[in-house]
Amino acid sequence: MDKTATASPNAPKTLIGQRVKKPDAPDKAAGKTRYINDMVLPQMLTAKVLFARRPHARIVRIDTTAAAKLPGVHAVLTGADAAGLHFGFVRDNVPLKDKVRCEHDAIAAVAAETEEIAQQALALIEVEYEDLPGVFTPEDGAREDAPQIHDNFPGNRSLHFAFKHGDLAAAEAASDVIVDNVFRPHYVTHCCMGTSCAIADFDHKGKLTIWTQTQYPYNYKMDLAPALGMHPGDIRVIQPPVGGAFGSKLDVYPYEPIAALLAKKTGRPVKLTYTREEEFRASPTRQSAIIHMRTGCTRDGTLTFRSADVLLDNGAYTSWGPTIPVIMMRTTSGHYRVPVVDFKAQAIYTNNPYAGSFRGYGNVQTTWATAQQMDMLADQVDIEPLAFHLKNAQLSGETTPQKSFLRECALVECLQTAAAASDYSRKRKEYAALRDAPGRYKKGIGLASSIHNAGGAKIHKSDGIGTILKVDDYARVTVISGASEIGQGIDAVITLIVAEELGVPLEHITLVNNDSDIAPWDVGVHASRTTFIAGNGTRRAARKAKAQILAGAEKLLGEPAADLTLREGAVVRVQDGKEIIKLERLLRQMHFQAEPELVMVTDYYEPKSEPEGAAHSSDHSAAYAHAVHIAEITVDTLTGEIKVDKVTVAQDVGRVINRMGLEGQIEGGLAIGLGYALSEDMRIEQGHLRNACFRDYKLITAPEMPPVEMHLIESDCAEGPYGAKGISELPTIVIAPAIANALTNATGVRIFTPPMTPEKVARAIVEQRRQASAPQAAAQLEGATA
């Protein structure tokens, strides 16, 4: 990172906006962290899964006799042992299958003393399949004569979503220009460094403890229960440190109930860990999509409408991937001021791997389309793009067609800041003029923006969080929070807020947030919500504790509570900062007195947002935010390679809480977005993943990260903690179309299907040249003939 700038300076002597290290960073850096993958329990067995490795088949016969007899094997389970244990959003999945619907279907599982024995046992399982015709594209799946993947989902039709606002026909008629394109966002996967892992153990009462990497422990219990035929109340979820999640752990996946079923069968703890290859094949993907998008505007550059007709490859089962239209439609209707909207999406079952949640949930795919069409429209009406964007940018106080209320909207500031910092308009004009000049290497600059929920998303009845906070006799604070830590840094944010409110050192604060039997309820880590929601919950709890402490001071010391505050481990006078008493002494005096008092408070924070609802017309987030990315690239027109020279980011963050964490989230989000844009691609052919390893699946790593210039715009969100907004998904969402727009600026080529690999770009350049020269050649031929 080259530079960080902030629009408004922080008040002195506050921790808010400072750089605070993650509490777990030293252990992680020193290799002392014990991730779930490192855990060993006494008497623990190791599980392995037999995957079908074929996309669609009937299981004619399965014989586990030899495997079960192998010394060291404690249990072998098949689909017969999981009959009726339907789970998933539409209950179309079971832990172990009696019919194969995708290549990573688990058809048997073994628990053994060692991994080697379990692996040997898998080899002894005899399976006879009858392969069935497969469906490998949503278009094929929707055909009348397509093979049926699930008997109870006729026509292979899965989820459907729709939203309409305004008169589309009239808006089209009023448009001077309409761009009409089909975008095909592709499959990528999360690539967590810690592969999927679960450890399950039952106690004598039949209660299950599951150690897992889940991002949503409380709703997880309800989702796991039907996969085991249990009551959710009999499940305890413990979240050890995890090596990444990024949305991939927002649902129950078969390995988790399989571990539990084996633990139940054997009466011993069972651990199931995916290998890297299994992780590629059997963990969820980002949802692929076919987006037919149309956007119109008048000659003066005013947007008139946007429509999107989306076809989703559901894959074999329904996880959260096909639910992304909930957010896709928000971007379709809310990315710039769009008066008329027509959105529909249909998911179709196929025999491909299935998608789950992934950072940017639906918005990565939609912004890939909307941000490119904004660039195209600007060119078609011949308006300088920045001016075109500014003309259609919403302002504070506006409401989108879906009733998202943009109370503090900083889109204009983001656009102006990023454009000025990168000299966008001048460079874009200059590079376009040089496009056809001689030379192999071409420069390009591209601007893209997007909008995302920044205060949670009320797609559950409650988007709230519970917090318990206690302060002990030594002024050590324990926060028991529902907020899960998956590496994103809520541990640092919570401790920073407690230190800010109670005036205690950061190292005197302990966070307990990884055990569903201890910590109170929370929706989970998703929707850019945790700093916003848990930040508010923590602040409210800390302020309750502070009020109790200051009331105690008033009672014991006779100083009015209103005149006191907490600072540097002491009770001090507000007026002159004079220390009245050390905090820990006061706490002991409050405790050991005639009417003993401990400082223990609880809080449940519910954001002011409205449930999504069936009509998709509600203010479903407590805040919304924008980001603008400007990508500067060099294109090798011979090889098609794109080198990203610099990225300028301007993002509405509400207010910076932990500057180091925020910068890290933007950098990390960019890395995921850059991989999506340039290199990551799951090559799925006839239902088989062909590149299940990091040699053939190219992540963006440190050497490929471009310089990033960050501008953190502080819009001061009225509902957010200290004014903060959620920030973590926008960096992933915006970068790919910024690069696509830069590619067009450099070469004239536009790519609709990411990633923009060298091969794809080079082919597009060659094709463009061929088409450009074809009329010329035809004219020459015509002249020669004449």
């Binding site: 639910t323 639906g362 559950h460 998703h526």
Partner: protein, 83 residues
């Protein structure tokens, strides 16, 4: 009254939608959610955790205290997760 089911409720109930005759004494969403599980084993099993489900009456989000009538269309939508 028309009941429309989504996601796992659809699978659990075995249909996308169905008509029911709403007794006159059922006047609110809360009363409806308390009454439905008493209407047979299929309802009892599917509605065991009905309190987490989002309810819309005539496509508008509804709380337990909101009124319902026999001519209403009621959507029952389980929660989903995000990114």
């Amino acid at each position: 009254m028309k009941l429309r089911y989504f996601a796992w409720l659809r699978s659990s109930m075995g249909c996308e939608a169905e008509e029911i005759a709403l007794p006159a004494e059922i006047r609110t969403v809360g009363m409806l959610l308390d009454w439905l599980p008493t209407q047979g084993e299929r309802f009892r099993r599917a509605f065991e955790f009905i309190d987490v489900v989002l309810v819309s009456v005539n496509r508008e989000y509804a709380e337990r205290s909101d009124p319902v009538r026999d001519e209403d269309e009621v959507y029952l939508v389980p929660p989903i997760a995000g990114g």
